[in-house]
């Protein structure tokens, strides 16, 4: 359904997407993960025919995004990470407007709009003004909008960003329903755990390159045997990093605020030695423990973004 081959996008000297390859089968849900600024949105914008690629091929259902953008738009629904709504427009009119922009006949789009509002649970807001909706509702409305022309491929850029937990769960429920409709979905997020439970395959992008991709299980199998330790300090983080670097079994350290996340290749009984070394240096440790959540481990493992050591 979606084929990306050797995609490159450069902004002047900066390469946002660097030789990216990706293939998504019909009916699959693909999770596109990466830290902020890794090139997710750029890739998605190219798929959505909103940006010219520097080189490479992107095809949606066999249609090239550069040569046949109109045919791609027919087959693809796009939901951006940030979007606005028009003032003074009602929910039903909002959907009607986009429906007509896709050239759908009046009766048909009325019917589809009603069904979609049902799907995203906004039927009761049909006659409300769009700008009076809450953020979560707007997000759902935007999702309904991207489905108005019944696209085969759905491209969602951070659909859960800025939503409260309840709205996130609602969004997930809708996506599950869409999966039942056999839509191919590409969904991006910077939080891996958010995607893992609903995606068939995931790809992790870092500095414009696809670092790893495959099914969630597959990726898990590939990276095993390592422990992720989370360490929180009051201060003197640099010192702590230096101490950790001296430890033979430490493979990677990622700093996030006052927290250090350590990829550690060793048994549990070796762990206390690590703690001892830190305590011997009288470092102000607040907490020290094994972090669970293999997904985050994978993410840390493959994205080297803010790594400070090794």
């Amino acid at each position: 359904m979606l084929v990306i081959k050797e995609l490159v996008k450069k902004y002047g000297k900066f390469t946002a997407v660097d030789n990216l390859n990706l293939e998504i089968e019909q009916g699959n849900i693909f999770g596109f993960v990466g830290p902020n600024g890794a090139g997710k949105t750029t890739t998605i914008k190219i798929i959505a025919t909103l940006m010219q690629p520097t080189s490479g091929i992107v095809k949606v259902d066999g249609m090239d995004v550069v040569r046949e953008p109109m045919k791609v738009r027919e087959r693809m629904g796009y939901m951006p990470d940030f979007f606005g709504v028009y003032d003074n427009l009602k929910v039903c009119e909002y959907l009607d407007f986009y429906g007509s922009s896709y050239g759908i006949p009046y009766r048909e789009r009325k019917k589809t709009a009603d069904q979609l509002l049902e799907l995203v649970d906004l039927s009761h807001k049909k006659d409300s003004y769009v700008d009076s909706l809450s953020r979560g509702m707007k997000q759902r409305l935007c999702l309904a909008r991207s489905l108005i022309h019944n696209p085969k491929l759905l491209v969602l850029d951070e659909p859960a960003s800025g939503l409260d937990p309840r709205a996130r769960i609602e969004m997930k429920g809708i996506l599950r329903e869409l999966r039942g409709m056999n839509k191919t979905i590409l969904i991006s997020s910077h939080i891996l755990s958010e995607l893992a439970e609903m995606c068939d395959t995931i790809g992790i992008i870092e500095n414009g390159k696809m670092v790893i991709d495959g099914s969630v299980d597959d990726i898990m199998r590939r990276i095993t045997g390592r422990t992720l330790v989370r360490l929180k300090l009051m201060d003197r983080l640099e010192e702590a990093v230096n101490v950790l670097k001296e430890q033979p079994m430490v493979e990677g350290i990622v700093q996030e605020g006052n927290t250090l996340e350590i990829t550690y290749d060793g048994e549990d009984q070796d762990l206390w030695k690590l703690l001892k070394a830190l305590v011997d240096h009288k470092l102000p440790i607040i907490s020290f423990g094994k972090a669970d959540g293999n997904l985050e481990k994978i993410f840390m493992e493959v994205t080297k973004g803010e790594e400070v050591a090794l």
């Binding site: 081959k5 050797e6 914008k45 959505a48 025919t49 909103l50 940006m51 010219q52 080189s55 490479g56 091929i57 995004v65 550069v66 040569r67 953008p69 109109m70 738009r73 027919e74 693809m76 796009y78 951006p80 940030f82 979007f83 606005g84 709504v85 028009y86 003032d87 003074n88 427009l89 009119e93 407007f97 986009y98 007509s100 922009s101 896709y102 050239g103 935007c142 909008r145 022309h149």
Partner: protein
């Protein structure tokens, strides 16, 4: 409605624009300003007539004066309102973060641009229609035919189209509405002033060549090209034509200071011997309209090209090697 005539952007813009009290308030204010100024003008004119002549001679020249005054006033208001209507059309979508959503629909970029322009122009059209009762004040006195008013209104629409396209172009080129608005007003202001200054210079240098020459030259055959860029000159020409050789010459109001306003009134039909389809046989306002329309079309095409997110590479179009 025919499919090619139907424009979703236009429909939705009109819906949004006409909703609420804003448009009604805008039309009322507009008419209020026109009414107030024409009242003051009426008052002044009649007072003068009574004071100096002691009789009131309601001849057609009063109708003509009122008509001219209203025509210029309305023209000025259109010039002032149109940029404000259009300069935010695309940049506003960008600021609201709705442009991408619009661009990835099946609407063509020219369709989006035209929808925006026509919705702004329809507002101007509404103002013009709403002003008909005020214009009919002039008809009371005679001297002006309804066809004159139709011609004037057509020229208004052409002007709104041209100025609107400048506004649209600015809103495409500049990210922020504020910048776009300022630049489009500046462009229009500079265009209005600069064309007159340059044109007058060109005229004087042209005629200075004939000062000592024995051959008489018909000034009708020389009009500096820059004049065609200025809708005010077209308006002056229309008004001069319509008033004929009456007591008031509208051309003198706008451009007469420089002494070229009389071309229009010298030959209202605009037809001299020779090929009547030749460019220099057209009346000045018509040439002005044609030039403005061509520039507007070019600006709109450029705007549509600019907002189009992906362009097919030329070498691919030519059937050359594909990229990648």
């Amino acid at each position: 409605m025919k499919k090619w005539l139907y424009n979703p952007v236009l429909e939705s813009e009109l819906k949004i624009k006409m909703r609420g009290w804003r448009t009604a308030a805008a039309v009322s204010t507009y008419l209020g300003i026109m009414l107030l100024i024409s009242y003051l003008y009426f008052n002044m004119t009649f007072n003068n007539v009574y004071r100096y002549r002691n009789t009131f001679d309601a001849n057609y020249s009063i109708g003509l004066q009122i008509y001219t005054m209203l025509a210029i006033l309305q023209f000025a208001l259109i010039i002032l309102i149109t940029p404000a209507q259009t300069a935010g059309s695309i940049s506003g979508e960008r600021e609201k973060q709705t442009l991408d959503l619009l661009l990835c629909t099946k609407m063509s970029s020219i369709g989006i641009i035209m929808g925006k322009l026509i919705s702004s122009m329809s507002f101007i059209f509404l103002l013009i229609i709403a002003s008909i009762p005020i214009f009919s004040l002039a008809l009371l006195f005679g001297g002006i035919a309804p066809s004159d008013i139709i011609m004037l209104f057509a020229f208004y629409m052409i002007t709104a189209f041209a100025i609107g396209s400048i506004g649209i172009f600015c809103s495409v080129m500049f990210k922020r509405t504020v910048t776009s608005t300022v630049v489009s007003y500046l462009t229009i202001f500079i265009l209005g002033i600069l064309t007159v200054i340059i044109g007058v210079n060109m005229l004087s240098s042209y005629y200075s060549k004939f000062v000592n020459s024995a051959t008489a030259v018909d000034p009708k055959f020389y009009t500096p090209f820059v004049f065609y860029l200025n809708p005010a000159i077209g308006l002056a020409d229309i008004l001069a034509r319509q008033s004929g050789n009456s007591t008031i010459d509208a051309a003198t109001l706008i451009s007469g200071v420089f002494g070229f306003g009389y071309y229009g009134s010298s030959n209202p039909s605009g037809v001299v011997a020779g090929n009547r389809w030749a460019w220099n046989q057209w009346s000045l306002w018509l040439r002005n309209a044609v030039v403005m329309l061509s520039i507007a079309v070019a600006l709109l095409a450029a705007s549509a090209w600019k907002i189009k997110p992906v362009h097919r590479p030329l070498r691919n179009k030519m059937g050359g090697t594909s990229n990648g």
